[in-house]
Protein backbone atom coordinates (compact mmCIF):
# COMPACT_ATOMS: atom_id res chain seq x y z
CA UNK A 1 0.00 0.00 0.00
CA UNK A 2 2.82 2.45 0.83
CA UNK A 3 5.73 3.13 -1.49
CA UNK A 4 9.26 2.32 -0.38
CA UNK A 5 9.94 6.03 0.05
CA UNK A 6 7.01 6.34 2.41
CA UNK A 7 8.19 3.36 4.40
CA UNK A 8 11.70 4.78 4.50
CA UNK A 9 10.52 8.13 5.84
CA UNK A 10 8.20 6.38 8.26
CA UNK A 11 10.84 4.06 9.67
CA UNK A 12 13.64 6.62 9.69
CA UNK A 13 11.88 9.91 9.97
CA UNK A 14 14.15 12.91 9.31
CA UNK A 15 14.10 15.93 11.60
CA UNK A 16 12.00 14.49 14.41
CA UNK A 17 12.04 16.53 17.56
CA UNK A 18 11.72 20.06 18.82
CA UNK A 19 13.75 23.22 18.36
CA UNK A 20 13.98 24.82 21.81
CA UNK A 21 14.58 28.29 20.39
CA UNK A 22 12.27 27.96 17.40
CA UNK A 23 10.97 31.24 16.04
CA UNK A 24 8.05 29.72 14.17
CA UNK A 25 5.78 26.94 15.39
CA UNK A 26 2.66 25.57 13.74
CA UNK A 27 0.26 22.87 14.87
CA UNK A 28 -2.52 21.49 12.69
CA UNK A 29 -4.96 18.59 12.77
CA UNK A 30 -6.80 17.24 15.76
CA UNK A 31 -6.67 14.12 17.83
CA UNK A 32 -10.27 13.28 17.07
CA UNK A 33 -9.38 12.66 13.44
CA UNK A 34 -6.24 10.84 14.40
CA UNK A 35 -3.57 13.26 13.15
CA UNK A 36 -1.76 16.13 14.81
CA UNK A 37 1.36 17.67 13.27
CA UNK A 38 3.57 20.27 14.90
CA UNK A 39 6.39 21.98 12.99
CA UNK A 40 9.22 23.95 14.55
CA UNK A 41 11.22 26.42 12.44
CA UNK A 42 14.46 28.25 13.06
CA UNK A 43 14.48 31.07 10.50
CA UNK A 44 17.43 33.36 9.89
CA UNK A 45 17.67 35.99 7.13
CA UNK A 46 14.55 34.65 5.49
CA UNK A 47 16.02 31.18 5.26
CA UNK A 48 14.79 28.13 7.15
CA UNK A 49 18.01 27.12 8.88
CA UNK A 50 16.46 24.31 10.82
CA UNK A 51 13.13 22.54 10.95
CA UNK A 52 11.82 19.76 13.18
CA UNK A 53 8.48 18.05 13.68
CA UNK A 54 6.42 16.03 16.07
CA UNK A 55 3.50 14.05 14.74
CA UNK A 56 0.74 11.95 16.18
CA UNK A 57 -0.71 10.02 13.27
CA UNK A 58 -0.53 7.16 10.88
CA UNK A 59 2.40 6.05 8.76
CA UNK A 60 1.58 8.53 6.02
CA UNK A 61 1.28 11.36 8.53
CA UNK A 62 4.74 10.65 9.86
CA UNK A 63 6.28 10.16 6.42
CA UNK A 64 4.75 13.32 4.97
CA UNK A 65 5.93 15.30 8.01
CA UNK A 66 9.43 13.98 7.53
CA UNK A 67 9.44 14.65 3.79
CA UNK A 68 7.97 18.12 4.20
CA UNK A 69 10.73 19.10 6.63
CA UNK A 70 13.35 17.84 4.21
CA UNK A 71 11.80 19.84 1.42
CA UNK A 72 11.83 23.19 3.24
CA UNK A 73 15.10 22.87 5.10
CA UNK A 74 17.55 25.50 3.82
CA UNK A 75 14.82 27.05 1.69
CA UNK A 76 13.47 30.58 1.76
CA UNK A 77 10.21 31.41 3.49
CA UNK A 78 8.70 32.05 0.08
CA UNK A 79 9.65 28.58 -1.11
CA UNK A 80 8.20 27.11 2.07
CA UNK A 81 4.91 28.92 1.50
CA UNK A 82 4.88 27.58 -2.04
CA UNK A 83 5.14 23.98 -0.82
CA UNK A 84 2.09 21.98 -1.92
CA UNK A 85 0.74 18.70 -0.68
CA UNK A 86 1.00 17.35 -4.21
CA UNK A 87 4.74 18.05 -4.22
CA UNK A 88 5.12 16.25 -0.88
CA UNK A 89 3.15 13.26 -2.10
CA UNK A 90 5.12 13.11 -5.32
CA UNK A 91 8.41 13.30 -3.49
CA UNK A 92 7.26 10.20 -1.62
CA UNK A 93 6.47 8.39 -4.88
CA UNK A 94 2.79 8.81 -4.23
CA UNK A 95 0.35 8.10 -1.46
CA UNK A 96 -2.77 5.91 -1.38
CA UNK A 97 -5.84 8.04 -2.19
CA UNK A 98 -7.23 7.68 1.34
CA UNK A 99 -3.96 9.09 2.68
CA UNK A 100 -3.75 12.23 0.57
CA UNK A 101 -5.20 14.23 3.46
CA UNK A 102 -1.95 13.53 5.35
CA UNK A 103 0.08 15.37 2.74
CA UNK A 104 -2.37 18.25 2.98
CA UNK A 105 -1.82 18.31 6.71
CA UNK A 106 1.95 18.47 6.16
CA UNK A 107 1.55 21.39 3.78
CA UNK A 108 -0.70 23.14 6.28
CA UNK A 109 1.70 22.50 9.17
CA UNK A 110 4.61 24.04 7.29
CA UNK A 111 2.50 26.99 6.24
CA UNK A 112 1.24 27.46 9.80
CA UNK A 113 4.78 27.50 11.17
CA UNK A 114 5.92 30.00 8.54
CA UNK A 115 2.93 32.19 9.23
CA UNK A 116 3.69 31.99 12.93
CA UNK A 117 7.20 33.23 12.20
CA UNK A 118 5.89 36.05 10.04
CA UNK A 119 3.41 37.13 12.71
CA UNK A 120 6.15 37.21 15.32
CA UNK A 121 8.71 38.80 13.02
CA UNK A 122 6.86 41.12 10.66
CA UNK A 123 9.97 43.24 10.02
CA UNK A 124 12.13 40.29 9.06
CA UNK A 125 9.37 38.98 6.86
CA UNK A 126 9.05 42.29 5.10
CA UNK A 127 12.76 42.24 4.43
CA UNK A 128 12.34 38.84 2.83
CA UNK A 129 9.60 40.35 0.67
CA UNK A 130 6.71 38.60 2.41
CA UNK A 131 3.63 40.01 3.99
CA UNK A 132 0.68 38.18 5.42
Amino acid sequence: MYSEKVMDHFSNPRNVGEIPDANGVGTVGNAKCGDIMRMYLKVEDGIIQDVKFKTFGCGAAIATSSMATEMVKGKSLKDALALTNKAVAEALDGLPPVKMHCSLLAEEAIHAAVEDYIKNNPEEAKKAGIEL
Partner: protein, 392 residues
Amino acid sequence: MNRIYMDNAGTTPTSPEVLAKMLPYFGECFGNASSIHSTGRDARKALEEARRKVADALGAKPNEIYFTAGGSESDNWALKGSAFARQDKGNHIITSSIEHHAILHTCEWLEKHGFEVTYLPVDEYGRVDPADVEKAITDKTILISIMAANNEIGTLQPIPEIGKIAHAHGIPFHCDAVQAIGAVPVNVNDWNVDMLSLSGHKFHGPKGIGALYVRTGTKLESFVHGGAQERGRRAGTENLPAIVGLGEAITLATQNIEEKSLRIMQMRDRLIENILKIPYTRLNGHPMQRLPGNVNVSIQFIEGEALLLRLDLAGIAASSGSACTSGSLDPSHVLLAIGLPHEIAHGSLRLSLSDWNTEADVDEVLKVLPGIVENLRSMSPMWDDFISKNNQ
Protein backbone atom coordinates in the same frame (compact mmCIF):
# COMPACT_ATOMS: atom_id res chain seq x y z
CA MET B 1 13.07 -12.84 9.86
CA ASN B 2 10.90 -15.22 11.84
CA ARG B 3 7.54 -13.51 11.56
CA ILE B 4 5.01 -13.58 14.37
CA TYR B 5 1.39 -13.62 13.33
CA MET B 6 -1.09 -12.19 15.82
CA ASP B 7 -3.90 -11.20 13.49
CA ASN B 8 -5.83 -14.45 13.66
CA ALA B 9 -9.14 -12.65 14.16
CA GLY B 10 -8.52 -11.16 10.72
CA THR B 11 -7.72 -14.41 9.02
CA THR B 12 -5.72 -17.57 9.61
CA PRO B 13 -3.57 -19.68 7.32
CA THR B 14 -5.22 -22.86 6.08
CA SER B 15 -3.71 -25.70 8.05
CA PRO B 16 -1.67 -28.25 6.10
CA GLU B 17 -3.96 -31.10 7.24
CA VAL B 18 -6.97 -29.23 5.91
CA LEU B 19 -5.27 -28.38 2.62
CA ALA B 20 -4.23 -32.03 2.20
CA LYS B 21 -7.87 -33.10 2.46
CA MET B 22 -8.89 -30.48 -0.08
CA LEU B 23 -6.37 -31.26 -2.77
CA PRO B 24 -8.01 -34.34 -4.34
CA TYR B 25 -11.16 -32.31 -4.96
CA PHE B 26 -9.45 -29.89 -7.33
CA GLY B 27 -8.28 -32.63 -9.65
CA GLU B 28 -9.27 -36.29 -9.48
CA CYS B 29 -12.57 -35.75 -7.72
CA PHE B 30 -13.63 -32.44 -9.20
CA GLY B 31 -17.18 -33.37 -10.09
CA ASN B 32 -20.22 -31.19 -9.93
CA ALA B 33 -22.06 -32.49 -6.90
CA SER B 34 -25.35 -31.99 -8.69
CA SER B 35 -24.47 -34.19 -11.66
CA ILE B 36 -25.71 -37.73 -11.76
CA HIS B 37 -22.66 -39.39 -13.31
CA SER B 38 -20.20 -41.03 -10.97
CA THR B 39 -17.79 -38.07 -10.93
CA GLY B 40 -20.71 -36.05 -9.62
CA ARG B 41 -21.83 -38.76 -7.22
CA ASP B 42 -18.41 -39.01 -5.57
CA ALA B 43 -18.52 -35.25 -5.16
CA ARG B 44 -21.90 -35.48 -3.47
CA LYS B 45 -20.64 -38.05 -1.01
CA ALA B 46 -17.80 -35.75 0.08
CA LEU B 47 -20.20 -32.83 0.26
CA GLU B 48 -22.59 -34.61 2.59
CA GLU B 49 -19.74 -35.88 4.74
CA ALA B 50 -18.52 -32.31 5.20
CA ARG B 51 -22.04 -31.15 6.00
CA ARG B 52 -22.27 -33.79 8.71
CA LYS B 53 -18.98 -32.62 10.21
CA VAL B 54 -20.15 -29.01 10.37
CA ALA B 55 -23.44 -30.14 11.89
CA ASP B 56 -21.65 -32.27 14.48
CA ALA B 57 -19.46 -29.36 15.51
CA LEU B 58 -22.56 -27.25 16.22
CA GLY B 59 -24.84 -29.91 17.67
CA ALA B 60 -27.08 -29.44 14.63
CA LYS B 61 -28.63 -31.79 12.09
CA PRO B 62 -26.86 -32.08 8.72
CA ASN B 63 -29.92 -30.86 6.83
CA GLU B 64 -29.81 -27.64 8.86
CA ILE B 65 -26.41 -26.67 7.42
CA TYR B 66 -26.13 -24.62 4.22
CA PHE B 67 -22.78 -23.78 2.68
CA THR B 68 -22.11 -20.18 1.69
CA ALA B 69 -19.12 -18.19 0.46
CA GLY B 70 -18.25 -16.96 3.95
CA GLY B 71 -19.37 -15.11 7.04
CA SER B 72 -20.51 -12.01 5.17
CA GLU B 73 -22.80 -13.96 2.87
CA SER B 74 -24.17 -15.95 5.82
CA ASP B 75 -24.95 -12.73 7.68
CA ASN B 76 -26.52 -11.09 4.63
CA TRP B 77 -28.60 -14.18 3.96
CA ALA B 78 -29.82 -14.58 7.53
CA LEU B 79 -30.90 -10.94 7.77
CA LYS B 80 -32.30 -10.25 4.31
CA GLY B 81 -33.72 -13.76 3.96
CA SER B 82 -35.57 -13.52 7.28
CA ALA B 83 -36.68 -9.96 6.77
CA PHE B 84 -38.28 -10.67 3.41
CA ALA B 85 -39.68 -14.03 4.49
CA ARG B 86 -41.39 -12.55 7.54
CA GLN B 87 -42.40 -9.20 6.07
CA ASP B 88 -46.04 -10.05 6.60
CA LYS B 89 -45.44 -10.41 10.36
CA GLY B 90 -43.71 -7.08 10.90
CA ASN B 91 -40.74 -4.97 9.93
CA HIS B 92 -38.68 -4.59 13.09
CA ILE B 93 -35.22 -6.04 13.66
CA ILE B 94 -33.13 -5.91 16.83
CA THR B 95 -29.35 -6.04 16.76
CA SER B 96 -26.47 -4.49 18.67
CA SER B 97 -24.36 -1.46 17.93
CA ILE B 98 -21.14 -3.50 17.94
CA GLU B 99 -21.97 -6.09 15.30
CA HIS B 100 -19.67 -6.71 12.37
CA HIS B 101 -20.29 -4.52 9.32
CA ALA B 102 -21.72 -7.55 7.53
CA ILE B 103 -24.63 -7.20 9.96
CA LEU B 104 -24.70 -3.43 10.39
CA HIS B 105 -24.48 -2.48 6.73
CA THR B 106 -27.06 -5.11 5.86
CA CYS B 107 -29.35 -3.58 8.48
CA GLU B 108 -28.79 -0.16 6.96
CA TRP B 109 -29.76 -1.55 3.57
CA LEU B 110 -32.88 -3.08 5.07
CA GLU B 111 -33.73 0.29 6.62
CA LYS B 112 -33.75 1.72 3.10
CA HIS B 113 -36.20 -1.01 2.13
CA GLY B 114 -38.89 -0.46 4.71
CA PHE B 115 -37.50 -2.19 7.77
CA GLU B 116 -36.81 -0.63 11.15
CA VAL B 117 -33.76 -1.56 13.14
CA THR B 118 -32.98 -1.10 16.83
CA TYR B 119 -29.25 -0.99 17.50
CA LEU B 120 -28.89 -1.90 21.16
CA PRO B 121 -26.20 -0.10 23.16
CA VAL B 122 -23.53 -2.04 25.04
CA ASP B 123 -21.90 -1.41 28.40
CA GLU B 124 -18.31 -0.24 28.86
CA TYR B 125 -17.14 -3.83 28.33
CA GLY B 126 -19.12 -4.28 25.17
CA ARG B 127 -21.86 -6.47 26.66
CA VAL B 128 -25.46 -6.40 25.50
CA ASP B 129 -27.90 -6.53 28.39
CA PRO B 130 -30.53 -9.23 27.76
CA ALA B 131 -33.03 -7.00 29.53
CA ASP B 132 -32.46 -4.40 26.81
CA VAL B 133 -33.25 -7.00 24.20
CA GLU B 134 -36.52 -7.80 25.91
CA LYS B 135 -37.43 -4.14 26.25
CA ALA B 136 -36.76 -3.49 22.56
CA ILE B 137 -39.18 -6.18 21.39
CA THR B 138 -42.39 -4.87 19.82
CA ASP B 139 -45.21 -6.75 18.17
CA LYS B 140 -43.54 -5.97 14.86
CA THR B 141 -40.22 -7.56 15.76
CA ILE B 142 -39.39 -10.32 13.27
CA LEU B 143 -35.74 -10.99 13.99
CA ILE B 144 -33.08 -10.59 16.65
CA SER B 145 -29.42 -10.82 15.62
CA ILE B 146 -26.61 -10.66 18.16
CA MET B 147 -23.03 -11.77 17.64
CA ALA B 148 -21.50 -14.44 19.87
CA ALA B 149 -18.11 -12.77 20.20
CA ASN B 150 -16.95 -9.39 19.04
CA ASN B 151 -14.19 -9.43 16.45
CA GLU B 152 -12.42 -6.34 17.80
CA ILE B 153 -12.63 -6.42 21.56
CA GLY B 154 -13.41 -10.11 21.99
CA THR B 155 -16.37 -9.64 24.32
CA LEU B 156 -18.65 -12.67 24.57
CA GLN B 157 -22.37 -12.02 24.64
CA PRO B 158 -24.93 -13.82 26.82
CA ILE B 159 -26.28 -15.70 23.78
CA PRO B 160 -28.27 -18.44 25.57
CA GLU B 161 -30.18 -15.85 27.63
CA ILE B 162 -30.89 -13.66 24.61
CA GLY B 163 -32.02 -16.73 22.68
CA LYS B 164 -34.37 -17.67 25.48
CA ILE B 165 -35.95 -14.22 25.43
CA ALA B 166 -36.31 -14.31 21.66
CA HIS B 167 -38.01 -17.69 21.82
CA ALA B 168 -40.28 -16.68 24.67
CA HIS B 169 -41.58 -14.02 22.29
CA GLY B 170 -41.66 -16.35 19.29
CA ILE B 171 -39.01 -14.36 17.44
CA PRO B 172 -36.28 -16.09 15.45
CA PHE B 173 -32.77 -15.48 16.71
CA HIS B 174 -29.67 -15.22 14.53
CA CYS B 175 -26.17 -15.31 15.93
CA ASP B 176 -23.01 -14.25 14.09
CA ALA B 177 -20.61 -16.83 15.53
CA VAL B 178 -17.80 -16.16 13.05
CA GLN B 179 -15.34 -15.35 15.83
CA ALA B 180 -16.63 -17.96 18.26
CA ILE B 181 -16.09 -21.18 16.30
CA GLY B 182 -13.01 -22.98 17.52
CA ALA B 183 -12.62 -20.47 20.36
CA VAL B 184 -15.50 -21.36 22.65
CA PRO B 185 -17.88 -24.33 22.62
CA VAL B 186 -20.82 -23.62 20.34
CA ASN B 187 -24.08 -25.54 20.47
CA VAL B 188 -27.12 -24.31 18.62
CA ASN B 189 -29.49 -25.90 21.09
CA ASP B 190 -27.81 -24.73 24.28
CA TRP B 191 -27.59 -21.32 22.66
CA ASN B 192 -31.24 -21.20 21.59
CA VAL B 193 -30.33 -19.92 18.14
CA ASP B 194 -32.34 -20.42 14.97
CA MET B 195 -29.63 -19.28 12.60
CA LEU B 196 -25.89 -19.09 13.04
CA SER B 197 -23.16 -17.76 10.72
CA LEU B 198 -19.63 -19.10 10.49
CA SER B 199 -16.63 -18.59 8.20
CA GLY B 200 -13.92 -21.16 7.44
CA HIS B 201 -10.83 -18.95 7.33
CA LYS B 202 -11.20 -17.84 10.94
CA PHE B 203 -10.21 -21.28 12.25
CA HIS B 204 -7.47 -22.48 9.90
CA GLY B 205 -9.94 -23.50 7.22
CA PRO B 206 -10.02 -22.15 3.68
CA LYS B 207 -11.21 -18.68 2.68
CA GLY B 208 -14.31 -18.16 0.58
CA ILE B 209 -16.38 -20.75 2.39
CA GLY B 210 -18.77 -20.48 5.28
CA ALA B 211 -22.04 -21.85 6.44
CA LEU B 212 -25.38 -20.76 7.72
CA TYR B 213 -27.10 -23.00 10.22
CA VAL B 214 -30.87 -22.75 9.79
CA ARG B 215 -33.01 -24.54 12.35
CA THR B 216 -35.65 -26.78 10.80
CA GLY B 217 -38.84 -24.80 10.37
CA THR B 218 -37.22 -21.36 10.27
CA LYS B 219 -38.71 -19.21 7.54
CA LEU B 220 -35.98 -17.92 5.29
CA GLU B 221 -35.97 -16.71 1.70
CA SER B 222 -33.06 -17.54 -0.58
CA PHE B 223 -30.39 -14.90 -0.97
CA VAL B 224 -28.45 -16.25 -3.96
CA HIS B 225 -31.12 -17.40 -6.41
CA GLY B 226 -30.50 -19.86 -9.24
CA GLY B 227 -29.81 -23.58 -9.42
CA ALA B 228 -31.22 -26.15 -7.02
CA GLN B 229 -28.04 -26.60 -4.98
CA GLU B 230 -28.25 -26.78 -1.19
CA ARG B 231 -31.79 -28.16 -1.45
CA GLY B 232 -32.83 -25.19 -3.53
CA ARG B 233 -31.90 -22.61 -0.92
CA ARG B 234 -28.47 -21.42 -2.05
CA ALA B 235 -27.60 -21.46 -5.73
CA GLY B 236 -24.16 -21.88 -7.26
CA THR B 237 -22.01 -24.85 -8.16
CA GLU B 238 -20.81 -26.29 -4.88
CA ASN B 239 -17.27 -25.22 -3.94
CA LEU B 240 -16.30 -28.76 -3.11
CA PRO B 241 -12.61 -28.43 -2.17
CA ALA B 242 -13.44 -25.59 0.20
CA ILE B 243 -16.46 -27.41 1.61
CA VAL B 244 -14.33 -30.47 2.34
CA GLY B 245 -11.76 -28.15 3.90
CA LEU B 246 -14.39 -26.47 6.05
CA GLY B 247 -15.60 -29.84 7.33
CA GLU B 248 -12.09 -30.87 8.26
CA ALA B 249 -11.15 -27.50 9.77
CA ILE B 250 -14.21 -27.25 11.99
CA THR B 251 -13.63 -30.78 13.24
CA LEU B 252 -10.05 -29.97 14.15
CA ALA B 253 -10.92 -26.57 15.59
CA THR B 254 -13.60 -27.91 17.90
CA GLN B 255 -11.55 -30.84 19.20
CA ASN B 256 -10.08 -30.44 22.71
CA ILE B 257 -11.36 -26.93 22.68
CA GLU B 258 -11.15 -26.45 26.46
CA GLU B 259 -7.54 -27.57 26.62
CA LYS B 260 -6.52 -25.46 23.62
CA SER B 261 -8.35 -22.41 24.91
CA LEU B 262 -6.67 -22.66 28.26
CA ARG B 263 -3.25 -22.52 26.66
CA ILE B 264 -4.28 -19.58 24.49
CA MET B 265 -5.83 -17.76 27.45
CA GLN B 266 -2.59 -18.04 29.35
CA MET B 267 -0.75 -16.33 26.50
CA ARG B 268 -3.50 -13.76 26.22
CA ASP B 269 -3.42 -12.93 29.91
CA ARG B 270 0.34 -12.64 29.97
CA LEU B 271 0.16 -10.21 27.07
CA ILE B 272 -2.55 -8.15 28.72
CA GLU B 273 -0.88 -8.07 32.10
CA ASN B 274 2.42 -6.91 30.71
CA ILE B 275 1.15 -4.48 28.11
CA LEU B 276 -0.92 -2.77 30.79
CA LYS B 277 2.34 -2.09 32.65
CA ILE B 278 3.06 0.50 29.96
CA PRO B 279 1.68 3.73 31.42
CA TYR B 280 -1.47 5.23 29.95
CA THR B 281 -2.86 2.04 28.48
CA ARG B 282 -6.21 0.37 29.03
CA LEU B 283 -7.82 -2.94 28.21
CA ASN B 284 -10.81 -2.83 25.89
CA GLY B 285 -13.54 -5.44 26.19
CA HIS B 286 -14.59 -7.57 29.08
CA PRO B 287 -11.82 -8.77 31.43
CA MET B 288 -13.34 -12.25 31.81
CA GLN B 289 -16.09 -12.74 29.23
CA ARG B 290 -13.73 -12.48 26.29
CA LEU B 291 -12.38 -14.64 23.49
CA PRO B 292 -9.43 -16.74 24.65
CA GLY B 293 -7.23 -15.28 21.95
CA ASN B 294 -8.23 -11.61 22.03
CA VAL B 295 -6.06 -8.79 23.37
CA ASN B 296 -7.30 -5.27 22.69
CA VAL B 297 -5.60 -2.36 24.37
CA SER B 298 -5.66 1.38 23.87
CA ILE B 299 -2.29 3.02 24.08
CA GLN B 300 -2.70 6.73 24.64
CA PHE B 301 -0.92 9.46 22.65
CA ILE B 302 -0.03 7.27 19.69
CA GLU B 303 -1.91 6.27 16.62
CA GLY B 304 -2.77 2.68 15.74
CA GLU B 305 -1.59 2.45 12.18
CA ALA B 306 1.84 3.81 12.96
CA LEU B 307 2.08 1.27 15.76
CA LEU B 308 1.07 -1.56 13.42
CA LEU B 309 3.62 -0.55 10.82
CA ARG B 310 6.38 -0.42 13.45
CA LEU B 311 5.36 -3.83 14.75
CA ASP B 312 5.32 -5.10 11.20
CA LEU B 313 8.87 -3.84 10.66
CA ALA B 314 9.77 -5.77 13.80
CA GLY B 315 8.18 -8.90 12.30
CA ILE B 316 4.88 -8.84 14.17
CA ALA B 317 1.53 -8.81 12.38
CA ALA B 318 -1.29 -7.26 14.40
CA SER B 319 -4.30 -5.06 13.79
CA SER B 320 -5.96 -1.95 15.12
CA GLY B 321 -9.30 -0.22 15.41
CA SER B 322 -7.71 2.93 14.12
CA ALA B 323 -9.56 4.83 11.45
CA CYS B 324 -6.37 5.04 9.47
CA THR B 325 -6.42 1.33 8.76
CA SER B 326 -9.84 1.59 7.20
CA GLY B 327 -9.55 4.80 5.25
CA SER B 328 -12.37 6.51 7.11
CA LEU B 329 -11.82 9.32 9.59
CA ASP B 330 -13.80 7.73 12.40
CA PRO B 331 -12.21 5.02 14.47
CA SER B 332 -13.90 1.68 15.04
CA HIS B 333 -17.62 1.84 15.82
CA VAL B 334 -17.02 -0.81 18.48
CA LEU B 335 -14.50 1.27 20.42
CA LEU B 336 -16.77 4.29 20.21
CA ALA B 337 -19.74 2.19 21.36
CA ILE B 338 -17.93 1.17 24.55
CA GLY B 339 -17.39 4.87 25.24
CA LEU B 340 -13.80 5.52 24.19
CA PRO B 341 -13.10 9.09 23.05
CA HIS B 342 -11.88 9.30 19.46
CA GLU B 343 -8.29 10.14 20.32
CA ILE B 344 -7.95 7.07 22.53
CA ALA B 345 -9.76 4.82 20.10
CA HIS B 346 -7.21 5.84 17.44
CA GLY B 347 -4.45 4.32 19.52
CA SER B 348 -5.83 0.82 19.84
CA LEU B 349 -4.00 -2.40 19.20
CA ARG B 350 -5.52 -5.83 18.68
CA LEU B 351 -3.40 -8.93 19.08
CA SER B 352 -5.37 -12.06 18.24
CA LEU B 353 -3.92 -15.46 18.99
CA SER B 354 -4.57 -18.91 17.61
CA ASP B 355 -3.24 -22.22 18.87
CA TRP B 356 -0.38 -21.82 16.41
CA ASN B 357 1.08 -19.05 18.59
CA THR B 358 3.70 -19.84 21.21
CA GLU B 359 4.94 -18.40 24.46
CA ALA B 360 8.03 -17.36 22.51
CA ASP B 361 5.80 -15.20 20.32
CA VAL B 362 4.45 -13.56 23.45
CA ASP B 363 7.98 -12.97 24.73
CA GLU B 364 8.97 -11.31 21.50
CA VAL B 365 5.93 -9.02 21.43
CA LEU B 366 6.52 -8.02 25.02
CA LYS B 367 10.15 -7.37 24.19
CA VAL B 368 9.58 -5.02 21.27
CA LEU B 369 6.27 -3.33 22.01
CA PRO B 370 7.35 -1.02 24.88
CA GLY B 371 10.22 0.40 22.84
CA ILE B 372 8.00 1.11 19.88
CA VAL B 373 5.43 2.80 22.09
CA GLU B 374 8.13 4.91 23.69
CA ASN B 375 9.55 5.88 20.34
CA LEU B 376 6.18 6.86 18.87
CA ARG B 377 5.29 8.79 21.99
CA SER B 378 8.60 10.61 21.82
CA MET B 379 7.54 11.97 18.47
CA SER B 380 3.94 12.69 19.45
CA PRO B 381 2.92 16.30 20.13
CA MET B 382 0.05 14.96 22.22
CA TRP B 383 2.48 13.24 24.55
CA ASP B 384 4.50 16.47 24.81
CA ASP B 385 1.43 18.48 25.67
CA PHE B 386 0.30 15.93 28.20
CA ILE B 387 3.70 15.78 29.93
CA SER B 388 4.16 19.54 30.07
CA LYS B 389 0.62 19.96 31.42
CA ASN B 390 1.34 17.39 34.13
CA ASN B 391 4.59 19.14 34.99
CA GLN B 392 2.92 22.44 35.56
